[in-house]
Structures are given as C-alpha cells and as structure tokens.
Symmetry: C2
Subunit: 159 residues, 2 copies
Amino acid sequence: MRVISVDPGYDRIGVAVLELENGSEKLVHSECIETDRTQPLPERLHFIGDSFTELLKQHKPNTLAIETIFFNKNIKTVIGVAQARGMIIYLAQLHKCQVYEFGPQEIKIAVTGYGKSDKKAVIDMVTRLIPDTPPDALDDEYDAIAVGITCLAHYGRTK
Amino acid sequence: MRVISVDPGYDRIGVAVLELENGSEKLVHSECIETDRTQPLPERLHFIGDSFTELLKQHKPNTLAIETIFFNKNIKTVIGVAQARGMIIYLAQLHKCQVYEFGPQEIKIAVTGYGKSDKKAVIDMVTRLIPDTPPDALDDEYDAIAVGITCLAHYGRTK
C-alpha cells in the first residue's frame, strides 16, 4: 500500500505520501498546497486540482486516505472545504486509488492511542513515528501525515 | 457561447447544454445524472464525475453555469452537494470552460422577471422559452435549463 493522505481544506491542503518499509511507516513526501485567498473559488479549485493531480502522477499511490469534514465550523468554510474534498476524492479515483475516510477521533486513536488528544500530542507522536518529518512542516502537513499513519495502521498490513 | 449548465446535487444532478441560435436559446441536450443511494459517497462522486466528463467530451461547451449552494438545508446534504459541485467546477475547467455561478434569485429574475417566483412559474417560462424541452424532464433538469438560460441572458450576446 502506498497511501496519499489529505487534510482537506481550500486555503491550505496538507498532503502526504507514505508507505510501510519493513513494517515501519516511511514518509515519501509531504507538502501543503496553498491557494491565493484573493482568487475566486473556481480558480482556487483549479489550482488545487492541478497540484493534486501532479502529486498523483509523481508518486503513484494506490490508496487515498482523507479526513472527514468537521460539521461544527462556519458553514461557508464547510462548503469550500467540501468542494475541494469532493474533487480530490474523484481525482484520486481517476488515478486508481481506493478511498478510505477517517474521522478526527479515529486519527487521534491511531496516532496517540487516545481519541481526545490535543494537536500537540498528535504532532509529537507523528514526529516520533516518522523521525524524518520535515522540521518546518505546517499543521496541515502534520495532520495529513497523521491521516496516512492511520490508514497504514488500519489497512497497511493487509495490502 | 455554448454553455453546460448544472443544478448541483449528488442524488440527482440536472445538466443541460444550451446555445443561442439567431438570438434565441436553443437546447442542445438535457438530462439528469442519477446516483445509486445505496452506494458510498466516493463511488457516487466517481459516477457523477465520469458521467459529467462524458458530457463535456460529447458537447464541447466553452462555459459552465452552475447554481450556488443553498445554505439553509440539512448540513449533511450541503456537504454532499458541495463535494459534487467542486468536482464539477474543476472538471469543466479541465475542459477549458469559463465558470459562472448564479444564485437562485438571479436565476428566477433572468427566467421569469421576478426574484421570488415559485417552481411552477420557472418551469412554465422554461417551457415557453424553449418549446423543445423534453416533456418528461425532471425538476432538476428544468433547474439546469433555467441556469443555462440565465447564463445566456447575462453573457451569451457578448461571446
């Protein structure tokens, strides 16, 4: 299993590529796709879609792991995030990825063993599990790596 | 201008293709893309994306007209619709369409002249403006045609 994992958004989208190597999680790549806030939504979707497609072509994952959407945010934000998320799911399928979705609690349990961990605990564990996490990684990038770790923990040993 | 117009959804997506012929709206094609409610969302997005791509290839529009999202619905529905909508906007851009978004009031004004028209008034006017609207058209199909009429009214004479 080579997983491309996504923390969905439309301002900033965390993306990571991971696989298992001798039973341990190995980070192949991570980055944040950042869009220009002054652009209208269609242009921002265009940019995200093209950037994500480029990553799919470059890293050839066979699995997409993507976080579910929080319901408790500003509705305009939810709509923006959902629009980008739907596009990302479709693009991954176009590139033959199987899609897995994970909720925030599942991710926290998989990474830290506790479903109510705070952001810092998640980041600490990500850095321990994957020592070569870029030191200048942004929050959304850590989140994406955490989603990828979750997917490998759930399904990585059976594929 | 050849416009592909969309009433976004994920259960049923109305799609129409229109252009102006001697100054009048001509309906080239209309249909509803319907998804299987028993399928998980990624599969439904996959089906919608593939079907919409097929329509883009077949009808070669240069413009996408798409309705904005209602904020006042069930949040789960809003998220589902938004996911399909973002994907549709990106796919249209991949096929070189310029994107225009219209709110429900703009559509009603363009079609009936009155921003608070009910569904029946919109359908009546669509049928008058485009006599060859399929007699068995579904509501979402009429809505898509209305979005296309709106786009042609706003931008059709300048392109």
